[in-house]
């Protein structure tokens, strides 16, 4: 077990810089998810931690060892790949034993560890099969088994669930979390799926275009997104964004001229309102013209436009509602749930 420290990491390919100074402290036993859209550099960052990519600048520490110049094998990490990367010509048992054998661990100890891991993952009956005889979920377990038996300092996961179907993904997600808690090992997990990120991580590092947008607990990200990007990325359905103008008298003027209170600065700002934070109120100043309803049973998603504008808005109301298109509803929002961002920089105000 060990902590993991990233100090000002840069990565360039030729003249193209893809990571621009990533820093972060990951505590011993913590589960950190690196999340971001495709191409944001999250896999590259993970591969730099693993030692599969050269670090252009900056430092990576596992515990208090600087590992920049160590081979992947010497970093005491284990990695689970997106396509599982099992050795196709070896049985499940050989797959799991491979790394131990190389480390010269005794046969008895190898067998003990492999069987223990197989019991945890419930793959004991498949130990003598070849990977191609297993289903996707089973292969995923073998890949995790191969990581577990090594008893590494840090677990690295590179989108391990993205090849599984939706149902299995939810199930494996829970299992990975349980497993990590049970083993108490430090884990770094890369995904582009914000739900996966929110449910798995003790903390989330949101990456966008090679920069860290925010690094915090799931609830921090949800309640106080540091930037427009994080605000739009976390939460489903996504946050509503509206342009507004801060007035000298502390009021905010919306696009359709309606004025609400709570301005944090003068001049143009971008307002963020989560659909679930819009409270229906006949007197409410935020008036939405209904176009389409999505009935989800437990709640109803109301799609529409801000009255008098083309601005698309979504509100989520608990329970079942029947509304005809064209009707205008009024909504309120609590001031602490009204997010305000600098229109130019996208930073939270």
């Amino acid at each position: 077990m060990a902590s993991l420290t990233l100090k000002d990491l840069y990565k360039s390919y030729g003249n193209t810089e893809v990571l621009h100074g990533i820093s972060g402290e990951i505590q011993d036993g913590e589960f950190v998810v690196i999340v971001g859209p495709s191409g944001c550099g999250k896999s590259t960052l993970l591969r730099m931690i693993a030692g599969l990519e050269i670090i252009s600048a900056g430092e990576v520490y596992i515990g208090d060892r600087k590992v920049n110049d160590l081979e992947p094998a010497d970093r005491d990490i284990a990695m689970v790949f997106q396509n599982y990367a099992l050795y196709p010509h070896m049985s499940v048992r050989q797959n799991m034993a491979y790394g131990l054998k190389i480390r010269g661990i005794s046969k008895k100890e190898i067998n003990r560890r492999v069987e223990e891991a197989a019991d945890i993952l419930e793959i004991r009956e498949y130990l003598d099969r070849k990977p191609r005889q297993l289903s996707g979920g089973q292969r995923q377990r073998v890949a995790m088994g191969r990581a577990i038996v090594r008893e590494p300092e840090v677990f690295l996961f590179d989108e391990p669930l993205s090849n599984l179907d939706a149902k299995l993904r939810v199930q494996m997600r829970l299992e990975i979390r349980k497993l990590q808690q049970r083993l108490g090992v430090t884990a770094v997990y890369v995904t582009h799926d914000q739900v996966e990120a929110m449910t798995l991580g003790d903390r989330l590092m949101v990456l966008n275009a090679g920069y860290v947008e925010q690094f915090g607990t799931p609830l921090e990200l949800y309640e106080r997104p540091a930037s427009l990007f994080v605000a739009g990325f976390i939460g489903s359905p996504a946050m509503n964004f509206l342009e507004a103008k801060g007035q000298p008298d502390g009021m905010l003027q919306l696009e359709n001229g309606v004025v609400i209170s709570g301005a944090k600065s003068e001049g143009p700002v971008t307002l963020g309102m989560r659909p679930e934070h819009l409270i229906e109120d006949t007197e409410g100043p935020i008036r939405i013209e209904v176009s389409v309803l999505e009935q989800l049973g437990a709640n109803t998603l109301i799609h529409g436009t801000l009255e008098g504008t083309e601005r698309e808005m979504v509100a989520s109301l608990p329970g079942i509602h029947q509304l005809e298109p064209g009707r205008v509803l009024g909504f309120l929002i609590r001031p602490d749930e009204l997010h305000q961002f600098d229109s130019k920089t996208g930073k939270r105000l």
Partner: protein
């Protein structure tokens, strides 16, 4: 349900395959049939009369120690050529797979030898190793190697093996490189994280995973060494010294066109034909199934 498309009967498909059928008939089936017929004939020394003798030619061949000698020599020759060219190719492909900069140049250069005609390849090696003029013979003199493949049978054999293997390395290299590049990169990376160094990764992961290619190439190389090396041998040693490099295909030529024993030569070529058919069957039967791993 798929609907079957029906075309009206037409002569066009027959016309389209006609050239290939014609080539096969004229250049393969006809000579093969001719050889088969010839192998049952004996001609007198002056070419004045021929006699139909059934299997007498074959009988004589198998009693001839020169022929059985050539058989063993061919087995050794093709085994050595296949082993040498396959092992060189797999090592080169292993490096090429890791090369990042200049990979295209490296690959192109490695593929060149394949484009050279066997006779020219043979001539190249004959020049380099020529006992009186050769640059390598000259170099060998400094380390006290008495090099003269024109009188030393073992040296002659070594030389034709090297020349034949060298020419085939390019072909094998291409196949190995393709096979290695089709191994998912993450499998190799997983092995690296598991602690395997490059050499260990090669033996425990890459080598077993390219084994279907190895098997395929083994058959191809054997066929190559059996037949396509004629040009090399003719250019370098003409089967000598004292038949030390006379492999089966060279003996067919030598007995038929130099020795003018047409019946015996035809019988040899029929045996070779049977061998190549057998190898083709092996290739189709087992390679289509792929090697189990």
């Amino acid at each position: 349900m798929l609907k079957r498309v029906h075309f009206p009967p037409s002569i066009l498909p027959y016309l389209l395959v006609a050239p290939q059928v014609a080539i096969t008939l004229i250049f393969f089936i006809w000579p093969a049939a001719e050889a088969l017929y010839q192998s049952f004939l004996i001609e007198d020394a002056f070419g004045l009369s021929t006699e139909f003798v059934w299997f007498e030619n074959f009988d004589a061949l198998f009693k001839d120690p020169q022929y059985t000698g050539a058989f063993l020599r061919t087995a050794f020759f093709s085994g050595a050529v296949a082993f040498l060219s396959l092992s060189l190719a797999i090592v080169l492909a292993g490096f090429a797979d890791r090369v990042v900069r200049g990979a295209t140049v490296y690959r192109t250069l490695l593929i060149w030898p394949y484009a050279i005609a066997p006779v020219l390849a043979g001539a190249l090696w004959a020049f380099m190793f020529n006992p009186t003029l050769g640059i390598i013979s000259y170099a060998l003199e400094f380390i006290n190697v008495d090099w003269n493949y024109k009188v030393n049978g073992r040296q002659a054999m070594a030389l034709v093996i090297m020349a034949a293997a060298w020419k085939q390395v390019a072909y094998n290299f291409l196949f190995y490189l393709a096979a290695m590049q089709s191994i998912p990169k993450s499998v190799i990376e997983a092995a690296a994280i598991d602690g395997a160094g490059p050499i260990r990764r090669f033996w425990t992961i890459i080598f077993p995973l390219v084994s279907p290619t190895t098997f395929f190439l083994l058959v191809i190389n054997a066929v190559y060494a059996f037949f396509d090396t004629f040009g090399i041998i003719d250019a370098v040693t003409q089967g000598g010294p004292a038949n030390a490099t006379t492999i089966l295909v060279y003996k067919v030529y030598n007995d038929g066109f130099v020795g003018l024993d047409l019946g015996g030569s035809a019988a040899q070529s029929v045996i070779l034909m049977a061998l190549v058919i057998a190898m083709t069957v092996v290739q189709f039967r087992f390679i289509e199934k792929k090697v189990e791993y």
